[in-house]
Amino acid sequence: MLHIVKKSPYESSAFSDAINYMEQNDIMLLTEDGIYAAKKGGKFEGALKSLMQKNAVYCLVADVKARGIQESEIIENVKVIDYKGFVEKVTEHNPMTWS
């Protein structure tokens, strides 16, 4: 499955709820305010890194740029993709949105 997270992890339980539901081979897409989970030095860096030991995490470039996050500020191994990449992920995995 593709777990789409669109709320800030600081403000909403969406990110941690999604993590709880991730199985082997599942992937996560951080979009909208969800992208703050991918920012280096933030409170959720540990949680994200531990998730990435088993699951791939993506974030949407349009949302990252809008919020002023530079690629250098994104946690290593989080892959930055565009909407076409988002579409491709949906073809590969059934989506569930956490908001």
Partner: protein, 116 residues
């Protein structure tokens, strides 16, 4: 692939419709088919006919009508619409108003249903 889209939030207030719009464009460019966009909950507000955003802002009504011109089917839930005042007199196109069965129809006929 065939994608069905569910939009649950209103325009401007949430980013949902912007994300859905960009996703739909990218999907169509990649050769996929959009079976329809179903507007539920506050999502029905996206098809209010009287949106007048400031000139320096995107016009969500126009963006959606543009999608419709490209053949994307837009469906406004009649029950959610009535509750919120999106009815025959206020909706962009009366023909778009339909029942919840259409959402299930999207789930059945689409390879993927994506919620925004």
């Amino acid at each position: 692939m065939k994608f069905g889209i569910l939009v649950k939030e209103g325009p401007y207030m949430h980013q949902a419709i912007d994300s859905a719009y960009n996703f739909i464009l990218a999907a169509m460019e990649s050769g996929h088919e959009i079976t329809g966009v179903f507007f539920y909950n506050d999502g029905v507000y996206n098809r209010c006919a009287t949106l007048e955003p400031p000139r320096d802002e995107r016009n969500i009504m126009k963006l959606l009508t543009e999608l419709e011109t490209k053949g994307v089917r837009l469906i406004v839930c009649v029950a959610a619409g009535k509750r919120r005042g999106i009815v025959n007199q206020t909706v962009c196109k009366v023909e778009e108003i339909s029942g919840l069965g259409q959402l299930l129809e999207l789930c059945i006929t689409s390879d993927r249903t994506i919620t925004f």
